[in-house]
Symmetry: C2
Subunit: 403 residues, 2 copies
């Protein structure tokens, strides 16, 4: 699903979807910054949103669209988050919906809206309106790439993918574009993900699938422990594949969910790997825990530790910091039952440091992708968290990014 062909196809891979990204002048860089995704055929819609109490105006607007159950379009911009913008922000988000709806010939409540970028600044609505109209004019079946580029901020590349699966004898397609980078944290941080599918699936099952999949994909990544005001993942299912509509928790639903999970986990890994300033991609794999919640809490404690993250940046096999972060995770643990490996090399075993081949360990630490494997030795539950290291570049990006 990450082949060049699938990547290019993105959200326009499923039947009946068009997309476009345009330069509206909202980003200071002058790059692509307004995206529209459209399905003429009405789609069932599901969404998961930031849990930040200071949620942005478009989050509230899009929640109402999801509550209505159906949608025709997504309009998103980068460069300005429309967060902490009060009544003006609410009006601007509504105007994004109205302008899109008018251009497409649908209702405002059919339009998901999303914004990402600087907080506390009002959207330049003249530019936005012109951008939306232009994007609608340029909608095409090959427009996913420009749409994907229009939603990124400090990402070094746009994330998109697509895949297909057979459900009820019909080929069902999925596509997605996503952005991540800074402010990534469990429970949806400045992360936007728009997923399209031509599957026929009822709204309740669609929401169930997205909610369950989010728990083991987007909510398992952490870049820096911050949770943004604007995050959302939305899926539109327009039924064009012609499969018998999925309405029950049956075998078809399991196939749908498994495919969606694979898609979202792939995107989550790529978002973590492209964390701001990242030089390493770290997979924290916790096994032998008493519950998934415990395993996740331990994994997150390790993934969020700046001391662990800077050690990996320095390629220093400082397992003391890892076991220390396990110890303060707030989950009962028995050091004398715990084993920590970097790659496949045990570095901590049953309460003390393990004897290891220094040259072999150095080789593991020198790689770009490193697995931190933690076996708690007390149960059978597991969880995998993805993160990246903490570099000079992270400090530079975030000390200079502005406002």
């Amino acid at each position: 699903m990450f082949s060049e062909q699938h990547r290019k196809a993105g959200v326009t891979y499923p039947q009946g979807f068009k997309a476009a990204g345009v330069k509206a002048g909202i980003k200071k860089s002058g790059n692509l910054d307004v995206a529209v995704i459209y399905t003429e055929r009405q789609a069932n819609v599901a969404g998961v949103f930031t849990q930040n109490a200071v949620a942005a105006a478009p989050v509230f607007a899009s929640k109402k669209v999801v509550a209505s159950g159906t949608a025709h379009a997504v309009t998103a911009n980068a460069g300005c988050a429309n967060a902490c913008t009060g009544e003006q922000g609410t009006q601007d988000a509504a105007r994004m919906q109205a302008v899109t709806a008018e251009a497409l010939g649908c209702e405002p409540l059919d339009v998901i809206v999303a914004s990402t970028g600087v907080i506390g600044v009002n959207l330049p609505m003249d530019k936005m309106e012109a951008g939306i109209k232009q994007a609608v004019e340029e909608l095409s079946e090959t427009g996913s790439e420009t749409a994907g580029q229009a939603i990124v901020t400090t990402d070094t590349y746009s994330k998109s993918c697509a895949t297909e699966v057979t459900i009820g004898g019909k080929e069902v397609r999925f596509g997605a574009i996503a952005k991540g980078s800074g402010m990534i944290q469990p429970n949806m941080a400045t992360m936007l993900c728009f997923i399209t599918t031509d599957a026929a699936i009822s709204q309740p099952r669609l929401q169930q699938a997205l909610s369950e999949v989010t728990e083991v994909s987007f909510n398992m990544i952490s870049i820096d422990g911050d949770m943004s005001t604007n995050d959302m993942a939305v899926v539109l299912a327009n039924g064009a594949a012609g499969n018998k509509e999925i309405t029950e928790d049956d075998a078809d639903f399991e196939v749908f969910k498994a495919t969606l999970r694979e898609l979202c986990q792939g995107l989550a890994r790529r978002i973590a790997a492209d964390g701001e300033g990242a030089t390493k991609f770290l997979t924290v794999q916790v096994r032998g825990a008493n519950s998934f919640a415990d395993a996740k809490q331990i994994g997150m404690s390790v993934a969020k530790s700046p001391l662990v993250k800077t050690a990996f940046f320095g390629e220093d096999p400082n397992w003391g910091r890892v076991i220390c972060a396990v110890g303060y995770a707030g989950v009962p643990m028995e050091p004398e039952k715990t084993v920590v490996k970097f790659g496949d090399i045990p570095v901590y075993k049953y309460g003390v440091g393990a004897d290891y081949d220094e040259a072999a360990l150095r080789e593991v630490m020198g790689q770009h992708d490193i697995v931190i494997d933690i076996d708690m030795g007390t149960g059978s539950a597991e969880a995998t968290v993805w993160t990246c290291d903490f570099s000079y570049e992270y400090v530079k990006i975030n000390g200079e990014y502005h406002t």
Copy 2:
């Protein structure tokens, strides 16, 4: 209490206390690394310890001393944490107590022991034994300065202070040495603090005072969100001042506790200000909250956000990141009642950005000490958290420090 004279006097300011720090060869740098503090007159002892499940051997040994109620000495070293060292580590901590006791003529259970430094390495016990003996020989009433230097690791300066107060007509003195720097986090992270006083106070009151004061001092600082395996704060009270012993929760106890609080808050602020790589000292002052716990949780959420910390490093008045961290603190909030100020300049007010004088705000951001004032507008509880910014230097120190 931070005058040059008081600072030099440190733990030997109260009557009957001696101290010394020596070079035992445990630190690679060859600097002072073993400290002994001693009171011939038996002292009541109280302590607070790391809550990390992977606590170091000396933590377990010292908890037993505190449980016994009295002590004569503290022996501490830097350069090696004696953590994750298994049975050998337990024996080494016991040996530190035994060697100190033999040299001083007291019992092993009279000796608090503490270690800080690299995790997972065994103490070089030959060097340690020689160091302890030498330190005991060098004990003096002016030895606090060398003792203070012997417990630091990446601290840029040793923290010590002293003060006096009148209790029951008698002058009662207090002194302290402390170390902090990396791995600092609420609930006692690689922080060591040894406090001496000549007050006469019962052990239960001494423990009560230390526990209460820790909640509003050491547990209110965060450098990077990590909690070490070795933290402890210990207070020895030898009664040499001759005041009527404090045994009740009365006026004398209040005076004692207030003085201890001022001492510990002063040290906590200095530990935060000297966080690894710090270029700014940040005071996060949360007011108008529904409870102290809420206010602390909000303050910590802001103080621990890498995005907030890098923004202050870059002198960027990015209030969006502050309000974002307030929003995900996990405490109910009403954005339309919240006001955020940097210094005395409102930057966020009732849900939206405030109009401010850019030049005046630039001046605030350029200062070394900056107050982030957050008024939640919903209650009357408050809490103050101290932290520092996140710099290139932090990444450098922690990417290169080794193991």
